[in-house]
Amino acid sequence: METMQFDILTISGAILLIATFGIVATRGFMDWLNAYRYQSIVLSGVTAIIGYVTGIWEIYIAAGLTLVIKSIIIPKVLTYVTRKLEIEFKLETNPYVSIRASVIISALLVALSYFLIQQIPFKSDQIVNVYLPVSMAQFFIGLFVLVNRRTVLSQVVGLLIIENGLFLFAMALTHGVSLLIEVGIFVDILVGILISSILLFRISRTFDSLDVGKLENLRDD
Amino acid sequence: MYNIATLVVGLIQVLVMLALAPLLTGIIRKTKARTQKRIGASILQPYYDLLKLVQKDEVVSDQTSWIFRACPWVNFAAMATAAFFIPVFLVYTPFGLVGDLLLVIGLFALGRFFTMLAGLDVASSFGGLGSSREMMISALLEPALFLSIFVVAITYGGTNLSTTIEASSISSFLPHPQIIFAAIGLFIIILGETGRLPFDNPATHLELTMVHETMILEYSGKSLALMEWSQSIKQIILFTLMVNIFVPWGISSSILLPSLAVGFFMFAGKISLFGIFVAFLESSVAKWRLFRIPDLIAIAIATSMIGIVLCYL
């Protein structure tokens, strides 16, 4: 039973990482959204597993909320906002590091996360052992996406990945913070996405581009 | 040690200095005249000049301020006060407790400060020229003078001139080779301080060569008399220092009358000889170009520095 539970945990963690890699490896905005949706579904499953393992019923609610907000509402909102944008804004054509190299870097980041977590003394808990490196890897990959990509849309996606990583981090360490706080975080994310969507729209209007490199012009020389 | 008698002898020493100062100038002038195959004026001529000048009316420039008028008095007061601290024919002076060699130099500097101001006060280019040159020479003489004093002070144990001359009168040159270097340094400095050749020509009235004369060019009457007299006092003070520190032979060590008399005549003889020596030297050298004067001062500084090293080794 114990080993089987551990296997389930490991497998779910691996699936989560694969979902994250999906974002790194793809080029178009719609692909990212799909990968994100997929990742969120896995995340809610993982949350449910955590709930099952720990036996805390509140975590199931968190899992449900994850499913609803992250895999349905947020992708919907983003699709709605970007529907008017022209297709070239939605394609990441020229990242700083090529897709191939970024996949390798992401793998290194995963290794780094495992290395970093290894020595932190939380050994007693299997959930922590399995998910903490995963969450950290997700966090790093999200950050890497932010660094690497030029368009504002992919920045938003990077932010979402980081958020997922943090959510998992908190969930793994605390086994579900107070439900009220989690609901708050979800609402926060939702509003954040709304605001960034509006900004994104404005930026595309004003600069006629969604390349964050153009913001360089704001520098005071 | 310091009773009324010493105080009286001390005051007599001061008066001797003040009184003999013009005579020394007269001796130097006479010697110079003789070396140039001239008969020259009497050695008492400076006294006649002073007497005549104090009785004359003065012409004062309308550009000048009170600084110009105060300068001769400040100068004289500074030089006469400096004379209080110099042992002349007695190895000590009761005023040694009041001031030392550094004070004497300070008083000289005070006089020179006012002379330079007075030179600039008259608003002619002559005065400025003299002050400008004097600024350079005096600023450079200061360290040379201090270094040679350094040697003398640490060899004879004090800047208090009574201590210094007392110590020098009972010791000989031989254990103190540094004293010879100090003497060479001090001699060069004295030539500069008193405005002698090759630094400055006291007999000239040519603007290319004048230094001290230009600053007092506008003075007349009583003021000129005071300026001339204080310059002679400064000269006799410096010559006395030279003679008493480096060749203190015959100086009286007690206030008994016979030894005082011997001391006095020895002093008069030594200082006249020194004056004659300076006059011969002046006749045999030409005035140096202004910007070669620092070289001469550098020689004085260097010899004093060697003196310092010898002191400690």
């Binding site: 360089e216 | 407790l97 208090n160």
Partner: protein
């Protein structure tokens, strides 16, 4: 205790009140008088407070517990602090009075409220720096002092150059603060407390390396504030830019706070003891002191800006103070207590003297600038007839600073020379000879200083006016003259009665030997017990005055009554002698420039315009003499350009790209986590 506490509190409250009053004031002559009253009264209170501390010999301590859990607000005014508070009190009293008349100049142009506000806070912060007994609050007040003075430097911010000077000042002063901070941090690491008390008690146990580091950091840090070469570059820029009353405070008092910090650190916190290990500290001070003295005075003598010349001369005087201090350290480390006392007295006597005459001279220069509206002495001249009082007071200051008897500068220079001469007691030939050679630049400095002030005084006040700036001007107001006369009186008093100064210093610093009566001669003994040197200024003054009276009578009797005729200056019979034929400041210092040409690297730029082809028929000729500032060119310029080069590279980090910034965050994060990870491993 309670009395002095009340006095101290009252003084502080008055300064605060003055600052607030200044902010609320409007520009009328009535409020101008009122707004400078609180600092005037407060300064009097400070003088009473500090002299009562010095006389009683009891230090005044006050701790406000729990102000901040870690840093107690501690005040300790012992003899040393009281001595410096006394300097602050006397000078700020005179300057406050002076400011009543002086700030009138600024009313026309702009509001004086900021000036009054900053003026009060500036003095207050200096008092609190000196009184602080806790490293944290010391630094807070130190920074307050630096910032208020910075704002005062750029008070005339309409002029581009003032802003530049302000920036130089700001950078240099913070460089200094960093080193002071480092020095205190070492103390904190060793003792675990920021209180000066713990430094004081714990410092003897520091390892030798720490002691040396504490000293070197404090030396650089406080040396910057004091204006020591080669960290002096800010001083000749900042001091002339400030309004003159503030320049007087900065030059007379603020740079002494740097000296205070140095003394405090060396004798209290650095574990300094009577061991030859520490002799090199003193030698370091002597070397940098002599360098400051000679560099300062060489720039002063060729300077044409009256206030900048005074600022350079401040560097020179700080050098003299440092030489005395250094000698005192060397003597102490060889356990020659009597000579250590002599050198310390020399140094502190010069500190207080410099406060007096530099305050006086800056106020005098301020008076001149306020009526003529130019700082360039090329354009001045002939002011002595139009401003008799200012010129008399400036002359007193000039004689004092040139070290001429019978005024105060002579006394402290006499002491310093005697300390230099006493170096023959040191049992080390190398040190003996090096100190003897160090006296060479020292003596040269004194000589050139006299030349500098001959030039400054004569070119400003004597002969004919060289431009219309100096014609038809009026004497300054009475409050300004009063302010100057207070310091002039102090100069004369401390020169004629040195007993005042020596007993003040020896009581304040708890030194062993004290003169017993004002007429006693200051005496130094040599090895055989005879008098090495003696000085009794009151008697000297008596001799000078009786000689003057005697010669006046003698000349009068000999020559009888003679007439004085006023006539033009001798013009060689050509007539038409005018101001263009006079010596100018530049031509006056030309021999100096020529002699020290290695240092100045003077360069003449000539522009000629001739009639037609013949080069000998000149229509006009313009000669400009330029001297180089070798410190800025050879020392600072390479440093600055390498910094600019480096920061240009660093600047590339600021790309303006969000991605790059995020990358920095990411790298930082990874590095931090790695650090945690690896340190956990160990």
């Amino acid at each position: 205790m309670t009395d002095s506490f009340t006095l101290f509190q009252a003084a502080i409250l008055l300064y605060v009140a003055g600052a607030i009053l200044g902010l609320l004031s409007r520009n009328t002559s009535l409020t101008r008088t009122i707004t400078f009253l609180p600092p005037t009264v407060a300064s009097v209170l400070l003088v009473i407070f500090s002299s009562s501390i010095i006389i009683s010999g009891k230090s005044f301590q006050f701790v406000a517990p729990g102000t901040l859990s870690f840093f107690n607000f501690e005040i300790l005014v012992d003899g040393i602090s009281a001595f410096f508070i006394l300097i602050i009190g006397i000078v700020s009293f005179a300057v406050s009075l002076y400011s009543i008349g002086y700030s009138k100049e600024y009313e026309i142009k702009k509001r004086t409220s900021a000036l009054v506000f900053l003026f009060n806070i500036f003095i207050l912060s200096m008092v609190l720096v000196v009184a602080s007994n806790n490293a944290f609050f010391f630094l807070v007040f130190w920074e307050l002092m630096s910032l208020t003075s910075f704002f005062l430097v750029i008070y005339d911010h309409d002029k581009e150059e003032n802003l530049k000077s302000g920036m130089t000042y700001l950078v240099m002063t913070h460089l200094g603060t960093t080193f002071i901070f480092a020095s205190f941090l070492l103390g904190y690491i060793q003792t675990g407390s920021f209180s000066f008390d713990s430094f004081r008690h714990g410092s003897a146990g520091f390892p030798l390396l720490v002691k040396n580091l504490v000293f070197v950091f404090a030396f650089i840090g406080f040396g910057t504030k004091a204006g020591m070469v080669p960290l002096h570059v800010w001083l000749p820029k900042a001091h002339p830019s400030a309004p003159s009353n503030v320049s007087a405070l900065m030059s007379a008092v603020m740079i002494k706070i740097g000296i205070y910090g140095m003394i405090r650190t060396i004798f209290d916190f650095s574990g300094f003891g009577a061991s030859p290990d520490f002799a090199w500290w003193g030698m370091l001070l002597i070397v940098f002191g002599s360098a400051s003295a000679i560099v300062g005075v060489l720039y002063a003598v060729v300077e044409r800006d009256i206030k900048r010349a005074l600022a350079f001369s401040s560097i020179e005087n700080i050098g003299i103070i440092l030489v005395g201090l250094g000698l005192s350290i060397v003597f102490t480390s060889f356990q020659l207590t009597a000579f250590a006392v002599l050198a310390l007295v020399a140094s502190m006597y010069h500190a207080i003297n410099h406060a007096f005459f530099k305050g006086l001279l800056f106020m005098g220069a301020g008076s001149v600038v306020s009526v003529t509206h130019t700082k360039n002495i090329e354009h001045l001249g002939g002011l002595v007839k139009q401003m008799p009082w200012t010129s008399l007071l400036f002359l007193i200051g000039a004689i004092s600073i040139s070290g001429l008897p019978p005024f105060n500068g002579f006394i402290s220079e006499w002491f310093t020379m005697q300390s230099l001469l006493s170096s023959y007691h040191i049992p080390s030939t190398i040190l003996q000879i090096s100190i003897a050679f160090a006296s060479l630049p020292f003596a040269l400095t004194i000589g050139i200083a006299a030349a500098t002030f001959v030039k400054l005084f004569a070119m400003t006040f004597l002969s004919k006016a060289r431009s219309k700036h100096a014609i038809n001007i009026k004497e300054v107001s009475r409050s300004m003259i009063l302010g100057m006369s207070i310091l002039a009186a102090a100069c004369v008093l401390f020169g004629v009665v040195p007993y005042l100064g020596t007993s003040l210093i020896s009581t304040a610093f708890h030194l062993s030997s004290q003169p017993s009566s004002p007429f006693d001669s200051i005496s130094i003994q040599n090895n055989s017990g005879k008098s090495f040197a003696n000085l009794s200024m009151p008697v000297v003054v008596i001799i000078i005055s009786s000689v003057s009276v005697a010669i006046f009578g003698f000349i009068r009797v000999l020559g009888g009554d003679t007439k004085k005729t006023t006539y033009g200056t001798w013009d060689c019979g050509f007539g038409g002698l005018n101001e263009r034929m006079e010596y100018t400041p530049t031509s006056l210092s030309q021999p100096m420039r020529a002699v020290f040409k290695v240092f100045f690297k003077p360069h003449n730029q000539t522009e000629k315009e001739s009639f037609g082809e013949n080069p000998y028929l000149l229509k006009s000729i313009k000669i400009e003499t330029v001297i180089k500032n070798i410190f800025e060119e050879t020392f600072y310029a390479p440093i600055i350009s390498s910094f600019v080069f480096f920061f240009d590279k660093v600047r590339r980090l600021q790309t303006g790209k969000i991605n790059a910034y995020l990358l920095y965050i990411m790298i930082t994060l990874v590095l931090l986590l790695l650090f945690v990870r690896l340190s956990n491993n160990v």
